[in-house]
């Protein structure tokens, strides 16, 4: 208790004396950055689930080919979950002479439970619907909504009657968007939506019709989980229970990248803040040495000193972390607001995990920062009171181990992958080494310069010589701070632009599937007519995976629902001579021309991981009744968020050509060319056109908003960089003050002292700026090339500008810092030391 009150009293007075402010600021920054991003990713994750839920239309979906048991509804009611049902079936829709195959969806009240339906009152002219609005309800009984494509095909307007089975019903709205439609992209005709109550009267559902019954529930996450477990238990064969983990790969991929960026920028902020804390702790430690020497002189035991020290560290850490968590929570609200309505609808309260990680980060960092000095502080000899040179902090290298480990842990944690973490760690270590060497080398060089006559310059150089260690530490600190600032200036805009450019305005927005070989010419003619230059047509053969390495495939061995479904589904096998440009080879290699016709296979990474398939595995496919065995020769990474057609499994040419193939194409349909597309579909009625414009808008929306969020997090890095610069300045303030005082007493003029200080800081600034510019350029290169796969352009003028600005920034800041005490008289200075 004595230790506690002593520690608390000291802390208060050190705070009042201003010793702890930078330390505290840096600590709060580190924790704020961590927790705000933690809270935010928490919410993004739930937003991702929500996206999935929107695509399903609910949190959980039970579907089957036969009417679903009423038990599903009763159980949902019992668990107080919102629920609704839908029925889907294909049917011809008739208007006068014309008829068109449509995908009918009859929906129950409350549909969709998640997401929304967007409707308008007229068919879009040139793609613009002035009155599109979220629908307040489902189609009223006796009326239908039709998709714009169906309206065009049948020449329908709102108010027109349309024949559905035995009923004639008026079109009451045009269905502009139905998020829940994303689920099964390759299998639908234009949509007609009606009220579930009208289904029976159409007489369309008879024995043998191809009908999909769906039951949707939504509500509290835990309750939904329990419902899911129950539903899986009672589901019939042929009934499927689907949850939100089936979000579209495009959206998942975009969010994954956003998370990576967020992680990296947080890491930069946190590491800068930790280094700033370390530098800021040095004056505090120095002062504590004197304090503890006096206390030891008056009888304090080592154990007591240690207790005081630990209490202080703990309290500092706790206060800083709590403040950081508080700010983090507030900042996160800002982040979520920036991220926009995408994530704002009724989010669950952010979890406790970020709070916990923030607290432990703050406490651990505080301890790690003090750790190297613990022994010297505890063992400070009382004799220091009589001889100031005794008991100066002697630091052993191993004392820095916890700090180094902590920083390394931060890197791995935020980098999200071992590879990225290791790369960052190496870069950071290399940087520290480089800084140290350059600082030492620069120092040596400066000392050798022909002695100039300018006395201020001489004084400044002498200052550097007197504190080589402090100088090196300062250069390192300045370099890191400056590097963060330069990196932000160099790459922030570029990086984000490039990320967004990965989904350019002319990214494919339509897919055509089910193209038969003899129709390829016709499709190409359409491309020419519609002015589409770069459409590609890919072959596709459907095959079922039946054996792996000679063992028949047993899909029940997959614990994971998604894995089982992937394995049971028919694969779309394609062939290609060259790898698609936006794919990235991870393992193995692409086939050479000589290997065409060899039984090889290139797999997509996520699929191979989910199904546990490795390089060298032999996969046997059943294709239209005959079998084909191929060896996995490469694993690729696919950028799903580019919206281009891509395949999980690709083989070399010369292997699949004899099997029945259909073709698929993705292309960008310019505005107002719908007519040409409709003609194509009328000519070849078997073709299915898929409109992914809405999906693309969603991906684009995520990118846009995440860009804001990332810039916001960059702000933390900026603050942390400035805190670091400031801490590096303050690190030598005490000593500088003492020196200035001495020089003044010896008769130096203010001008001389200022100039000496500026000369010293100019040198430090220049070395730091050089290291920082080089380091930032290297980092920019790494992030560009390895993270977002774009080529990196070294921008020399910008780099030079950054170098010049950084070299000047340090002495300017130093001047601001020195100005205060230089105006004082030597007498005042004497007292303030």
């Amino acid at each position: 208790m004595r230790a506690f009150s002593l520690a608390w009293g000291q802390l208060k007075s050190h705070w009042a004396a201003g010793d702890l402010r930078v330390l505290m600021l840096a600590l709060v920054l580190a924790v704020t950055a961590t927790t705000s991003v933690g809270f935010f990713t928490d919410r993004v994750e739930s937003a991702l689930e929500r996206q999935g839920a929107m695509l399903l239309g609910g949190d959980l979906l039970v579907s089957g080919a036969k009417p679903l048991a009423d038990a599903y509804r009763q159980e949902a009611e019992r668990r107080r979950l919102a629920a609704t049902a839908t029925v889907e079936f294909p049917s011809m829709v008739v208007r006068g002479e014309r008829s068109q195959l449509a995908e009918i969806k009859a929906v129950g009240a409350g549909f969709p439970l998640r997401g929304e339906l967007v409707v308008s009152g007229q068919v879009a002219l040139a793609g613009v619907t002035p009155d599109a609005r979220p629908a307040a309800d489902i189609p009223a009984p006796g009326t239908v909504w039709v998709e714009a494509r169906l309206a065009t095909l049948l020449d329908l307007q709102v108010g027109d009657q349309v024949g559905v089975g035995e009923r004639e019903m008026p079109v009451s709205a045009i269905l502009e968007r139905e998020n829940s439609r994303g689920g099964d992209m390759f299998s639908f005709a234009p949509r007609l939506m009606m009220n579930l109550d009208d289904v029976a009267s159409t007489g369309l559902i008879q024995y043998g019709s191809r009908v999909k019954y769906q039951f949707l529930v939504a509500g509290d996450a835990a309750e939904v989980d329990r419902y899911a477990a129950w539903a899986k238990g009672i589901a019939d064969t042929g009934e499927r229970v689907q949850d939100v983990s089936d979000a579209r790969p495009e959206i998942r991929s975009a969010l994954e990248k956003a998370r990576q960026f967020l992680g990296l920028s947080t890491m930069v902020a946190v590491i800068l803040a930790i280094v700033a804390m370390f530098l800021a702790s040095l004056p505090h430690v120095q002062r504590s040495l004197d304090t503890y020497a006096v206390m030891r002189c008056f009888g304090a035991s080592k154990a007591l000193i240690m207790k005081i020290l630990l209490w202080q560290t703990f309290m500092l850490g706790l206060i800083g972390s709590l403040l950081g968590c508080l700010f983090g929570y507030m900042a996160q609200t800002g982040l979520a607001a920036l991220a926009g309505s995408l994530f704002l609808e009724q989010l669950p309260a952010p979890g406790w995990l970020p709070l916990l990680s923030g607290l432990s980060l703050g406490l651990l960092t505080m301890i790690a920062v003090i750790w190297p000095h613990l022994a010297s502080l505890r063992d400070v000899p009382a004799m220091r009171i009589l001889r100031r040179d005794m008991g100066n902090a002697s630091r052993v290298w191993s004392g820095y181990l916890p700090l180094a480990l902590l920083i390394a842990a931060m890197m791995f944690w935020h980098a999200g992958s071992v590879r990225m973490g290791a790369a960052t760690l190496l870069a950071f270590a290399g940087l520290l080494l480089l800084t140290g060497l350059l600082a030492m080398f620069g120092n040596q060089l400066l000392q050798r310069l022909p002695v100039s006559k300018a006395s201020a310059w001489k004084l400044g150089m002498a200052g550097l010589k007197r504190r080589p260690l402090v100088a090196v530490a300062q250069v390192a600190g300045f370099s890191l701070g400056l590097m963060a600032l330069i990196l932000l200036a160099l790459v922030r805009g570029d990086l984000l632009q490039n990320w967004q450019a990965s989904l350019p305005a002319d990214a494919p927005n339509r897919f055509i599937i089910n193209i038969q070989p003899h129709q390829i010419e016709g499709v190409k003619a359409f491309f020419a007519e519609a002015g589409i230059a770069d459409a590609e047509v890919f072959p596709m053969v459907r095959g079922r995976l039946v054996a792996v390495n000679g063992e028949p495939l047993d899909t029940t061995k997959y614990e994971d629902e998604r894995a089982r479904r992937l394995a049971e589904r028919e694969f779309n096998l394609s062939w290609a001579a060259n790898m698609q440009a936006d794919n990235q080879m991870l393992e193995g290699r692409w086939w050479t021309a000589a290997e065409h016709g060899q039984p090889l296979l290139s797999l997509e990474q996520d699929l191979s991981e989910t199904l546990g398939l490795k390089l060298g595995d032999r996969l046997r496919y059943d294709i239209a009744g005959s079998t084909l065995e191929v060896t996995v020769s490469s694993i690729r990474k696919v950028e799903w968020d580019t919206m281009r057609a891509n395949f999980f499994a690709v083989m070399p040419p010369g292997l699949l050509e004899d099997y029945p193939a259909s073709y698929i194409s993705s292309f960008h349909l310019p505005l107002g060319r719908d007519q040409a597309l409709n003609r194509l579909v009328q000519d070849f009625s078997n073709l299915t056109v898929i409109d992914v414009a809405a999906l693309m808008e969603q991906v684009r929306g995520i990118m846009n908003r995440m860009t804001y969020a990332i810039q916001y997090v960059f702000l933390f890095s900026l603050l942390a960089g400035l805190a670091l610069l400031y801490a590096a300045l303050v690190a030598s303030r005490e000593e500088r003050l003492r020196e200035a005082m001495l020089l003044r007493v010896l008769g130096a003029s203010n001008r001389q002292i200022v100039l000496a200080g500026l000369a010293e800081f100019l040198c430090i600034g220049m070395i730091a700026a050089l290291v920082a510019t080089l380091g930032a350029s290297a980092l920019a290169w790494y992030v560009s090339v390895h993270l977002i796969n774009i080529s990196y352009q070294f921008n020399l003028p910008l780099a030079l500008l950054a170098f010049a600005a950084a070299s000047l920034l340090v002495p300017c800041a130093a001047w601001l810092g020195m100005r205060g005490f230089l105006r004082l008289s030597p007498r005042k200075l004497l007292q303030s030391v």
Partner: protein, 228 residues
């Protein structure tokens, strides 16, 4: 004896040379005595004081305080003895800049676990005439005032022995004189043993016994033989 040193040796070795500061030094200070140690600058006065107070340990020889052989105790043991029996006044005051005058005086009392720390500290500051300056920080006080706070801090726990290392060294003559009077006055009231290191002849003259440190040894001094 309050303090006793027997065959005390202290050398320090730097990279190139071995320096003998104290050599076979003997000293006995009875309870209640007021002793002055004088000597040239660099003669080892502060070193000796440090050894007698157990701030440092000798190369060989013994130091006994109230019969306790502190030279054989470890750092913590010596700290405990210091806390119980000794008070200190230094040339450079050694007040903690982040604590107020009152807090500085409270500190040793608190370290000794004294329940009445605040009251005692206030009384001590009262005795040195600073009851108006309790909440001032050292930087807000003049040198003489700072030294008075230091004296209050040294005397507040009622130590048996008071060590003072050139307590007037950083002060002008007039202020120094006031400090001496204060120190001696309080010392006389409390009957404390005082071991004083000084350059100042008048200060030394006011002590019952004067010893001169020279070439690592102590010599009795008589009124005329004051070293420069």
């Amino acid at each position: 004896m309050a303090v006793e040193a027997i065959a005390l040796n202290k050398h320090v070795s730097s990279s190139d040379a071995r320096l003998t500061i104290l050599e076979h030094l003997d000293l006995a200070v009875p309870h209640g005595e007021r002793l002055a140690i004088v000597g040239r600058s660099g003669s080892g006065k502060s070193t000796l004081l440090g050894l007698l107070a157990g701030l440092d340990s000798p190369s060989s020889g013994k130091v006994l305080v109230d019969g306790i052989e502190i030279s054989s105790l470890d750092e913590d043991g010596r700290a405990a003895v210091r806390g119980r029996k000794m008070g200190f006044v230094f040339q450079s005051f050694q007040l903690l800049p982040s604590l107020t005058a009152l807090e500085n005086v409270i500190l040793p009392l608190q370290l000794a676990g004294n329940a009445d720390a605040e009251a005692l500290a206030k009384a001590a500051l009262e005795r040195v005439g600073l009851s108006q300056r309790l909440s001032h920080y050292p930087r807000q006080l003049s040198g003489g005032e700072q030294q008075r706070v230091a004296i209050a801090r040294a005397l507040a726990p009622k130590p048996a022995i008071l060590f003072a290392d050139e307590p007037t060294g950083n002060l002008d003559a007039a202020t120094g004189q006031q400090i001496i009077e204060l120190l001696f006055g309080l010392n006389a009231e409390d009957g404390t043993t005082l071991i004083l290191v000084t350059h100042d002849n008048s200060m030394a003259a006011a002590c019952q016994r004067r010893l001169q440190l020279n070439a690592g040894r102590l010599h009795e001094m008589h009124d005329e033989g004051v070293a420069a």
